[in-house]
Subunit: 319 residues, 2 copies
Amino acid sequence: MNEFELIRTFFARQPVSRADVKTGIGDDAALLRPPHNQCLTVTSDLLVAGVHFFPDVDPVSLGHKALAVNLSDLAAMGAEPAWFLLNLTLPNVDAAWLEKFCQGMFDLAREYNVQLVGGDTSRGPLAIGIEAHGFVPEAMALRRAAAKAGDRIYVTGTLGDAALALRHRREEIRLPERDFAAVAGQLDRPTPRVREGMALRGIAHGAIDISDGLLADLGHILEMSGVGARIFLDRIPVSDVTRRHLAETGWETVLAGGDDYELCFTVPDNNVAALEKLKFACGFHRIGEIEAVPGLRVMDESGKPYYPKATGHNHFAEK
Amino acid sequence: MNEFELIRTFFARQPVSRADVKTGIGDDAALLRPPHNQCLTVTSDLLVAGVHFFPDVDPVSLGHKALAVNLSDLAAMGAEPAWFLLNLTLPNVDAAWLEKFCQGMFDLAREYNVQLVGGDTSRGPLAIGIEAHGFVPEAMALRRAAAKAGDRIYVTGTLGDAALALRHRREEIRLPERDFAAVAGQLDRPTPRVREGMALRGIAHGAIDISDGLLADLGHILEMSGVGARIFLDRIPVSDVTRRHLAETGWETVLAGGDDYELCFTVPDNNVAALEKLKFACGFHRIGEIEAVPGLRVMDESGKPYYPKATGHNHFAEK
């Protein structure tokens, strides 16, 4: 099978067909019609075998996650997703593997009505690059730099399950089978908070998705907004499983583990009533406040400062 | 140096600043303002070390080429380039290498006023993925599927130099040093035919950029347009160096070598006068005609059919 047959077989029969796609896969470039009076929002993320995922990962999950992490970035801008491109390097053409990868990717694409419009495939070490496009009215975009002193800080869902599952898979800890089953889905098939991000338009100030850990990602909001924050360990939402293992793992798995793909966002006092009217299936919790004084202060259950041993993921940390 | 410092150091100080970029590098996603009444054109290309380039390639050339091949795809749609994203996996952070890579990439970006607005970096095997965005009025876009029987077929520049240089570098042939120096630039720093593609709006029917070799890429036009073609070896423009080595390399290096990044386009009779008024610094030559009968017929210098031994590049060919 040659490259072009491969593209046709697996990627051309995708499930979504949008009216704003004038030319999709198959020409030198896609031709797309963004809506008037909105900003185009563009993001891209790379997943590299051996760095971001185990080479023997379930391909359905990999296809899901590769798209989900990009939709999560759009969600953090309050954007509505529309199109994506896929760049795939494969050591060889394995039809069964590709079938499953596409299943995971296209099931999620169908759910969010996002159409594959282009990309590139090549022989090479297994890696997936996806670029996702969406729209948001310019004045409604949720920017990292928009947090203000006095804002309340919230997160969607719960934090730490993905990091707990990863530590088990890396054999750093050993979870009972039932506990691992309960948290593995957060690691393998995260749900991008697209509806939640769009609902926060006009309500939230700053927003980010938590991919590198709460401390690192909230840290980006603080740095770009020129503010500080105080958060409280006893308000950070965690699942029952993650809570049961806290004594063993420490709070670092929750604060700095990453891969949560929940939203962290800040809301001014006068928008709190509007926020509280929103119904999120994943829930949301207030974890602290934005303060004028720079720095991120973590308070433990007894109200004393807590000093985390790790602060988040860094792909290029010195070893 | 951590990932974020790396991004800041090398990619944030880029040379282009466009008014239609509302938020560039540094948020969850870029916020961009496409013009009204035009289509957004999006393409992406991957370059993988050991597949598309030698791992010890000059990083200035690599930075140039990674962006050039994407601008070439936009050129083949008749689009005006605007923005790009960069996904880079690096085995380690080598500041001197990155400095040179950025120099090659940003020098070209400056020339075409195209702004880096986002991307992702990760540790991993050396690979570069670029997504480029541009605009073209929908009715003016040059599509592969638009060739019609009776159209004249043209190519810009000359073909075969890049393939000749590659064969020398792979030690399949041995060129005199002066000859290699004369053709290496076509391989290492191809010029995307952006101005030419834009000038062909309203004149050309079908168009494609020649990345996989003339036969393969013209073949895409024929297949997608449901037509055939006849081309003539003695009309195919080649440099003096490539012509001198034709006896040794055969026409396959010119027809199927790839990496030319010239445009192949078709023009109806009644637009030929308008075409001939255009001044392209790289020149353009008529090489044949589109015909109703499917198939690509190559005629040799004596007017007899020529049967090429190779037809173009395939990343996943059976070994």
